[in-house]
């Protein structure tokens, strides 16, 4: 079947396919080491950018768990000025969309970063109001609908690009938060960020992570993510970007059927650096095999 259409639309942006790396999981500009061209993906989603340099948390920062991992990296990063000077110019050469994840401790931090990115080649911003691993790492905004709406509205006013708001699963009702950021003017929501977890070494009787708690990700959280994507997609009219435990095209299609317009591959890239590219390729193959003309017809198409 000719003319398969894998493109999707988020905000005013058309992506050639629905697949991007999840923020913090794969810094393509630095690390894909020529394993595949970044232009194979619908977008590049970059790590969290602060207004200043972040050293990150004390080690140990990661732990393996059944079908997944805990991390408490602490948003280690170079700061927005270095990012704009050194990383963005390099990324421009690739035929794909650039999404920058923005993090902050207070509303002003988010606004500073959004303002500095306004005149750059960043195609879209993802506002991280859900990092569980740093004090005031946005999570304070992500669990309170009023604060979530306010920070979304404030960023929306300043940003020149469409704004995605990344939601935390560590809430009682994901629908309430999704609706709040939609009211605040978000162009899309992305979910789920990691689920707060803990691991204790029974031999040493110590916490495995220096931060004590960390964010759980990987296939272990996939069913939780699918459920929350489904709930959010039915609560809001703006597009949903689904993530959480996607390792291949089937996991991604599950998210799309639940209501996601696009998907992000996170932890899976740590164990298979080709995971995101293989996911994009696999979605196209699925469409061909099932003679489906457009991936958009699958968004939210799950049946009883």
């Amino acid at each position: 079947m000719a003319g398969i259409d894998t493109s999707v639309v988020i905000g005013n942006l058309r992506m050639k396919n629905p697949v991007m790396p999840a923020s913090g999981a794969y810094d393509y500009y630095e690390n894909n080491a020529g394993l595949f061209p970044m232009s194979d993906l619908g977008a590049i989603m970059l790590k969290s950018i602060h207004h200043d340099i972040r050293p990150g948390n004390k080690p140990p920062r990661i732990a393996e768990t059944p079908s997944g991992m805990l991390n408490a990296i602490g948003l280690m990063g170079p700061g927005v000025d270095t990012f704009i000077e050194e990383d963005l110019p390099f990324l421009k050469q690739y035929d794909t969309k650039i999404i920058v994840n923005v993090c902050g401790h207070c509303e002003e931090d988010y606004l500073t970063v959004a303002e500095k990115l306004a005149d750059t080649c960043a195609d879209m911003l993802e506002i991280n109001i859900s990092c569980p691993n740093v004090k005031e790492g946005g999570i304070a905004f992500g669990t309170d609908p009023k604060k979530a709406e306010a920070v979304t509205a404030a960023v929306r006013k300043i940003a020149r690009q469409p704004v995605i708001v990344k939601l935390s699963p560590n809430v009682t009702d994901i629908r309430e938060i999704a609706k709040a950021v939609e009211s605040g003017g978000a162009d899309a929501v992305s979910l789920i960020n990691t689920i707060t977890g803990m691991k204790i070494d029974v031999r040493t009787r110590r916490f495995v992570l220096a931060n004590r708690t960390g964010g759980l990700s990987g296939p272990a959280i996939h069913p939780v993510a699918v459920r929350m994507v489904y709930e959010a997609a039915h609560a809001v009219k703006i597009p949903v970007i689904g993530m959480g435990g996607i390792t291949n095209a089937y996991d991604a299609l599950e998210m799309i059927l639940a209501g996601a317009s696009a998907v992000a591959v996170g932890s899976a890239t740590f164990r298979n650096p080709l995971a995101a590219a293989e996911t994009a390729e696999g979605i196209e193959m699925y469409l061909r095999e099932n003679e489906i003309a457009s991936v958009r017809s699958l968004i939210g198409a799950v049946q009883e």
Binding site: D27, N31, P55, E64, T65, G68, N71, I73, M76
Partner: protein, 254 residues
Amino acid sequence: MFITAKALTNRIITPGFGRILLSAPQIAEQAKPGQFVMLKYWRGIDPFFMRPFSINTVDRAGGTLGILYKVVGQGTEILADLSADAEVEILGPRGNGFPLEDGMTRIAVIGRGVGAAPMRFLAEKARSMGIGVRAYISANSEEHLFDKAAYEGSGCTFTGCTDPNVKVTDFFAEDLKKMKFDAAYVCGSKRLMKAVAELSDEYDFAGYVSLEEHMACGIGACKGCAVRVNTKDGSEAYARVCKEGPVFPVKRIV
């Protein structure tokens, strides 16, 4: 490079320790002493992460990589049971190797137990460049001085130490009084690393350490394998063992 290779042999050399030989000509061609590889040799998503291993031997002509391992957990238990002709996914070679320069006349390689694995590759490379190598290796017992014959066979002066009350670097300190070393390379023990750092204050040689950390990705993306590094103003800074390392100037760490 991310390839699927075949294991050629895999055997337990002494209880709890094994050697696996992999046929991976492209990686053997590129690998430098001190670099590491990420390996996956099981199906499915448990264990979740690939496993990092230092490179013990490289045979470019034969296109093989040798890995020396200790059985410590889920990943290495599976490795110990792996059949000789198994398929192994390899991501690598990764990281920065040991600085080794033409014109060096003598170096010291220092390590402990299985942690000394990358030192054999370094010593053999240095010997092929005509550099004199003195190896100072400690272990719990004689049978854990895994590469003793290989060091001696390649023309290194080998000092093994199995006495828990003696630091193997004491022998290095004695030799430093008598002869000049261009560089010393250490891995596998924090205690030995500290000793090398102290000796490099007293004597004029370049000290390098290779660090090990748990890793998720091995390519700098996850930032999980962070290690605290010294800064001029004492501010908090971390480097990634997989990307900025695994080899660091010893003064940057101690």
